[in-house]
């Protein structure tokens, strides 16, 4: 029974993704189901913000997680997200070909937003599989390509994890930056990293930059079927839909990066420690986001299965991702909220060198710190 409950609790996103697909296929007001489910999850996350649990292990120390089941679910999500795009493309095709008689603009907007939100949440599987050295890495590339972000898989492992908490990592948001600016800089910075990596490799091998071993270019080629599908389904309507899907899903990805590391600092050359990430580990966030909120442990033990990640008493916002996501959408509010946590980090977690960099930030960004008062 314990094995069942520990494994089944991570099925929230797969089940809700299937419901979202069903809503889009049913059409009419059902297309908004994905948006409504996102709202329901936000309420559930806020309601459970004070419930925090440790990872579950048997008395003899064995994990209750069943590896083959969890990996099976993650691989299964690739066809699920493809079906999500096919369902939306079908609605767009009906709208574009019958000039709005079969499908209303409102239901098309609902279908697009629903697909975009749940495609964005698919990133949690793209992230988890990026840490797999075998076929999972390739599946991660394909999942991310559905959002036009296949470069993420390399940049996340070789850039974000190695350069965390430093300006060399574009996914670490420096103090004073808002989530909207971060989404742009982080996305472009990670792609830039992959581009540079492939440019150096081509130069070293004395090859042209344009070659089929260029993983940056091939990553974008993986997105070609999605583009063709939406153009074929609805021309300009299809292009508009895919721009919204890619825009929202990449914003959600970068929002997760923003929440996971905002304002935390690591001195160059020093090891990545628990203190260089924020945990968001209330019960709903943990189960919904397959423990991605246990960032402190994840960044120190990157290849640990998500169901084994635990509370390591690192920096913790004390609330879940959905609630924090609402905060970061309003930058002045988030800045006030996070300053208390940053001051606590500066006093209780930072080394002397990290504290000096933090003070430089405070001078640059003119942040009003509680420490300064």
């Amino acid at each position: 029974m314990r094995i069942f409950s520990v494994n089944a609790r991570y099925l929230i996103v797969p089940i809700m993704s299937l419901l979202t697909i069903g809503g889009i296929l049913l059409g009419d007001t059902y297309t908004w189901l994905g948006v409504i489910l996102f709202g329901v999850c936000t309420v559930a996350d806020i309601a459970t913000r004070n419930i925090h649990r440790r990872a579950d292990f048997a008395p003899d120390g064995r994990s209750y997680g069943v590896k083959y089941f969890q990996y099976g679910v993650m691989y299964f999500m690739l066809p699920v997200f493809i079906t999500l795009q096919l369902a939306l493309a079908w609605q767009i095709h009906k709208y574009a070909s019958s000039a709005s008689e079969a499908v209303s603009v409102m239901s098309l907007i609902g279908a697009t937003l629903s697909a975009a939100l749940w495609a964005g949440l698919g990133i949690i599987y793209g992230h988890e599989l990026s840490h797999n050295k075998k076929e999972g890495f390739f599946v991660s590339r394909l999942i991310m390509a559905l959002s036009g972000a296949s470069h993420f898989t390399y940049a996340h492992v070789y850039n974000h994890h190695l350069d965390l908490g430093h300006e060399d990592d574009p996914a670490t948001a420096p103090r004073g930056r808002n989530v909207y600016a971060h989404a742009w800089h982080s996305h472009m910075g990670q792609s830039h990293y992959s581009y540079d990596m492939e440019a150096k490799k081509a130069k070293r091998q004395q090859k042209s930059f344009i070659n089929l071993n260029n993983r940056w270019l091939v990553g974008y080629l993986f997105s070609l079927p999605t583009l063709v599908l939406f153009i074929w389904a609805g021309g300009l309507w299809g292009i508009a839909a895919i721009l919204i899907i890619w825009g929202i899903s990449n914003f959600l990805l970068e929002a997760l990066n923003f929440m996971g590391h905002y304002g935390l600092i690591r001195e160059e050359g020093k090891p990545v420690e628990h203190r260089h990430s924020w945990d968001n580990d209330n019960i709903f966030t943990s189960w919904f986001f397959i423990e991605i909120g246990r960032q402190c442990d994840h960044h120190v033990r990157g290849e640990t299965y998500f169901w084994e990640l635990d509370d390591v008493k690192g920096p913790n916002y004390g609330i879940g991702y959905f609630q924090l996501f609402l905060y970061i959408l309003v930058p002045p509010f988030f800045r006030k909220f996070v300053q208390v946590h940053l001051d606590h980090w500066d006093q209780n977690y930072a080394t002397e060198a990290e504290r000096n960099i933090a003070q430089e930030f405070n001078r640059h960004a003119k942040l009003e710190t509680h420490l300064a008062r």
């Binding site: 070909s97 036009g148 472009m188 910075g189 080629l221 063709v228 153009i231 074929w232 021309g235 930030f361």
Partner: protein
């Protein structure tokens, strides 16, 4: 500032590609699968070129913490 120059460069390039597609009446042929593949490929190349334009104009400056 370099970020804005980079975005301006991307906007110019995207507008140029959109104009050329419009002049070739691409919007009238999208529902033929072969043309859809071609347009998809053109847009993907436009996107990749956009990224390269941005990288070259903006450089590393946008990622510096203290400018």
């Amino acid at each position: 500032m370099k970020t804005l120059y980079g975005i301006a460069g991307m906007t110019l390039w995207t507008s140029l590609v959109a104009l050329v597609l419009y002049l070739f009446n691409a919007h009238d042929y999208y529902n033929h699968f072969g043309w859809a593949v071609l347009f998809g490929f053109i847009l993907l190349i436009a996107h990749v070129v956009n990224m390269v334009i941005y990288f070259n104009i903006a450089g590393k400056e946008p990622y510096k913490w203290f400018k």
